[in-house]
Amino acid sequence: MQEENKNRSIDEEVSEVLLSRAIEEYVEEDCAEIIEKYKDADFVPSKRHEREMKKIFRSAGKKDGALGKRLKKAAILAVALALCGAAALQVDAVRKSVVNFYYEVTGQSMDINMSSGEIQVPEGWDYIYVLGYVPEGYEFYSTEFVGKNDYCIRYYNGDEFIVLRQSRENKLSFDVEEANIQKISVGGNQAFLVCKEKRISLWWNNAGYSFYMMDEINIEETVKIAEKLVKKYK
């Protein structure tokens, strides 16, 4: 029975590879026809189009464009997170500070539910990611539910926090103001490592989730923690 399952699993993998290859070839053939047909087309773009394209190029590299919007939002979220970390001793105070701050900057409302005690998988989620490797001295401290799809777990060693935030919407961002940013790999996924003063932040995507982790330990340890996240099911 086990052998049968194993064979079936290999068969499925093989069929996936073949399907993937067939689709690649299909696209190549399909595109080859299009390229052949239009390669010598004499298309003169309008001035309006050229202007719009220039705007699109600029927005890819300018602070006011798409990247800029991400960065601006990132800065807001990061400061909100920092507020959580710094003043986490009083749940109500933190909630109020973050909500007020967020509202002040964005003019939008924000729902934050905070709880402490055992790590709970929130309503509507099948599982969450928690730290599989917890550095010595740290313990689970509290969780927060920010909006519907962002979940934040904090660990605390009596002095500093490790904040793990996960989003099912692929929209977490990070603070880059006066920070050093490096592209690194976390478990084979591209990640952005942001170092600002003592704070180390890591941002990456995996399996449809976005992760943001922040601590004040060191880069090596931060990456190690990030690579050892485990799923906690209901």
Partner: protein, 186 residues
């Protein structure tokens, strides 16, 4: 903003511009031919580059054939989603959809011979756009279900269902062809 971020932003902009320089003539000509309107064609290509700007990691080299194919797939998808879908795509009924009683979605037992592989490619061509698009976006463009849902303006569940349905149609197509081939040989 740090120098690193500025550099990153500059390289994104340059990459986008290079891809545009390499692909724009074919993309615009193709879109215009499909839509019969220069303004709509230009809007389509602009949207394609806006989408690309969020997925620049998928580009290996700005002037590679794969990049051109990648952009053609995006443009085709936009034309399909924005202009064709409402009129031509078949409407699926998801209520009677029961994955437990359906055969498995893989085609593993049908893909051992070269002939069958050829049939698979043929079967891909026979799929409707509504079923083929999610497959292409998933297997060729390497988009996740959520991303496909976003570009096709449907729900992630719907994307999953369409991919499943597409695989099932591929399997049915090959099975029918094989049965017809066997009958012919007898």
């Amino acid at each position: 903003m740090s120098a690193f971020v500025e550099k990153m932003a500059d390289s994104d902009r340059e990459l986008l511009e290079e891809v545009y320089r390499y692909t724009y003539k074919i993309l615009l000509a193709y879109a215009k031919d499909m839509l019969k309107d220069q303004g709509l064609a230009e809007d389509t290509v602009q949207e394609a580059f806006i989408r690309l700007s969020g997925n620049l990691d998928k580009i290996d080299s700005p002037d590679s054939k794969r990049t051109l194919n990648y952009m053609i797939v995006i443009v085709k998808n936009i034309i399909y989603t924005n202009f064709i879908k409402e009129n031509r795509v078949e409407k699926f009924s998801y209520e009677d959809y029961d994955t437990e009683n359906d055969p498995p979605s893989t085609v593993e037992d049908l893909l051992v011979e070269k002939e069958q592989y050829g049939m698979l490619k043929e079967a891909l061509r026979s799929l409707s756009d509504g079923l083929r698009q999610p497959l292409v976006l998933h297997y060729f463009s390497r988009l996740k279900l959520e991303q496909i849902a976003d570009v096709m303006k449907i729900t992630p569940t719907n994307v999953g269902v369409r991919i499943y349905r597409a695989k099932k149609e591929l399997k049915d197509y090959i099975t029918k062809k094989e049965a017809a081939g066997n009958a012919g040989r007898k």
